[in-house]
Amino acid sequence: MPYLTMSGVRKRFGGVVALDGASFAAERGEVHALLGANGSGKSTLSKVLTGVVAPDEGRIEIDGQEVRIRGPQDTRKYRIAAVYQELSLIPQLTGMENILLAYEPANSLGFIDRKGLERAVLEVAARFEQALGRRIDLHRPVETLSPGDQQLIEAYKALARQPEILILDEATASLRQAEVEALFQVVRELRDKGALIIFISHRFQEVFALCDRATVLRNGQTVGTVDLAGVTEKDLVDMMVGRGAVSEVREAPTPPRDDVVLRVRGLCGPRLQGVSFELRAGEVLGLGGLQGQGQSELLRVLFGAEQASAGEIEVAGRRVVFRHPRDAVRHGLALVPGNRAREGLMLGRPILENLTIASMHRRRRGPGFLSARREKEAADGAVRSLGIKIGHLSGPASTLSGGNQQKIVVGKWLLNKPRIILMDDPTKGVDVGAKAELYRFIRELTQEGVSVILNSSENMELLGLSHRVLVMYEGAIADVLEGDDLNENRLVAAAMRVGRPA
């Protein structure tokens, strides 16, 4: 009887099925890896266990008892703690204050046992100090600490709870080698005391170094659980992708022309470490790899929304430096950002204004006068060519469905006749019909010679649309796939750096 059993877990987010009857079982005294490609459901599954996500269906048993985990009270009761990649610290508070903030280990009278808690934190800190060979000052504001030390404070926070089940979800991403090893040492001690550790990481090397067994998820379902001693990286990739999976037959895209419209050399910047590539007219260049490897940052730097610290960008053969998105727009670039509501739309404003905002300067007269008729004609044109379903152009953009909202974001750029469109996961949260239309649209654009750089978390989308795929890993281009290599096995293997030193 395993210590923890999850079975038949289902979760839908709107139209997207994140978990489709997934199961998971693990024992005390093991470090168990949870693996899967983008969107396989591993993060959702871990969040079900911490009560962050409420499953639609499913059964969780701990120590043979069925349990329900709804929030912090329950995780405290079952002694479940998690460390995520995203930090949850308050920058101005000290490490100790941050840690104490997360706990209310009240005694029966409801008082906070501050002394006891501080003791637990100091014990954890002492263990780390031993493993790390240096001390992290818990009485300094965390904003003055390095990102790695901040991440370790997060780990202290979870460990001070003396968890029976500890989840590490990409918790090593910002740690240096020595810090990773210290964390692993403490985790192993915890395991030897009989705790269960669930380890989620994109670094195979770490998985093999730390974990005993691995459970692989694919499309929200559990593929299987394996003993890591008996498998290779290649085997795991096969499980993640489906053994011998062949990519869907691709509609042969129009071959790109020879002229290079964008050339990038040695681009460094926020999360980018020396990115170089060329983009041809009419080409769809995919950005693949695991999510969060610098794909979005690359698009933002190309668009002038973030500044590069080094490197060169050439548009149509001329060296450019974009200080503001406006500069990029003038050079024929467009960005369909990753977060529609936050970055793409003015939800409260009329559809017409959302469609015309990026191109109105082309239609202005004199110092900036706009003709109501011409603005409406322009907006109507975009609505027609994209088949956007709207009530009235004066209605607010917030009233539209996700797919139609995304078409508005694309449509506003079409009115500007861009040469290069940067798309950051454009079909996220978009229904199937609108997705197909966006695909058709991307193909039409490339036929006209427009180039697209497409970041997508959906492998099939990337493989089906791109002429080439740049696989990114920790801010650099790890691999370039084209021709026969454009299949899911190669893509996932490249994303996980199989057969290469990490």
Partner: protein, 314 residues
Amino acid sequence: MGRPLNPVLIAFAIAVLLFVVGELVSPGFAAYSQIINVLRVSSFLGIIAAGQTLVILSGGEGVDLSVGAIVTFGAIVASRVIDGQDAMVLWGLAQALAAGLALGAVNGILIAYLKVPPLIMTLGMASVVKGLSLVYTKGQPSGRAAPIMVRLVSQETVFGIPGILWIWLALMVALTFILRQTTFGRSLYAIGANRQAAYLSGVPVKRMVVAVYSLSGLLSALGGFFFLGYTQSVFLNLGDRYVLPSVAAVVVGGTSLAGGAGGYVGTVVGSIVLTVLQSVLVTLRMEEAGRQIVYGIVLLALLAAYGRQYRLRQ
């Protein structure tokens, strides 16, 4: 559930209602000449609140609390330069406007580029400008309005309407046109509704913020210049009374404090509502304390009613 009522229409209905109440309490309150008089008094608030409207529309917790001090400063500068001479009016106006524009630009630059919160920045600016006024006048404001300025405010023209009201009407038409039919207006609503999306659409957000606070300074100084025609001489707290009413007029006129929704016509109606309300309370012979309390309660009731409207809309 039908279409929610337009806040501008609600405010307009309230203004009419207040005139009716006034007429019932004191016959003659809603006589033509009285209405014109109330509108005349409203016009100063309305012109000062024009800049406030732009600032609040621009979002980013935008508010300009330095309008009162800049109104005073504009009036002080104009009064000293003009000193009762019609020939000096344009020169005095130009200097007052330049001063207002410059002070507003400082607000805008520090808010946009140094990320000083608007509330803090403009509150600090109000204090600095008051200090400047003292230095400039050495505590003794000098000069007076020119006769032509007095006539502009008090002398009746066509339909018994004084010149200031025609100017206010022109400002309303011009500003409404700018908001609706120019790239500036569209950019303003865009940065108010979603700064990030506007930025990623190529809108120069920071330059817009500087422009908006500069215009607010300019319009405050303009308000000060016209108000000088009403008071004829200056005093050091001339504009103080307009600070919070300028914000209230914008909000009563249906412009969202969060930015990105509303317009100047609403502010015009809002200015009238606030002025008529004051005047009705005076007509009721209410004590100053009572007036303040009722004024505050009416404001709260109005805003609560709008809040309900917005909720219904969701």
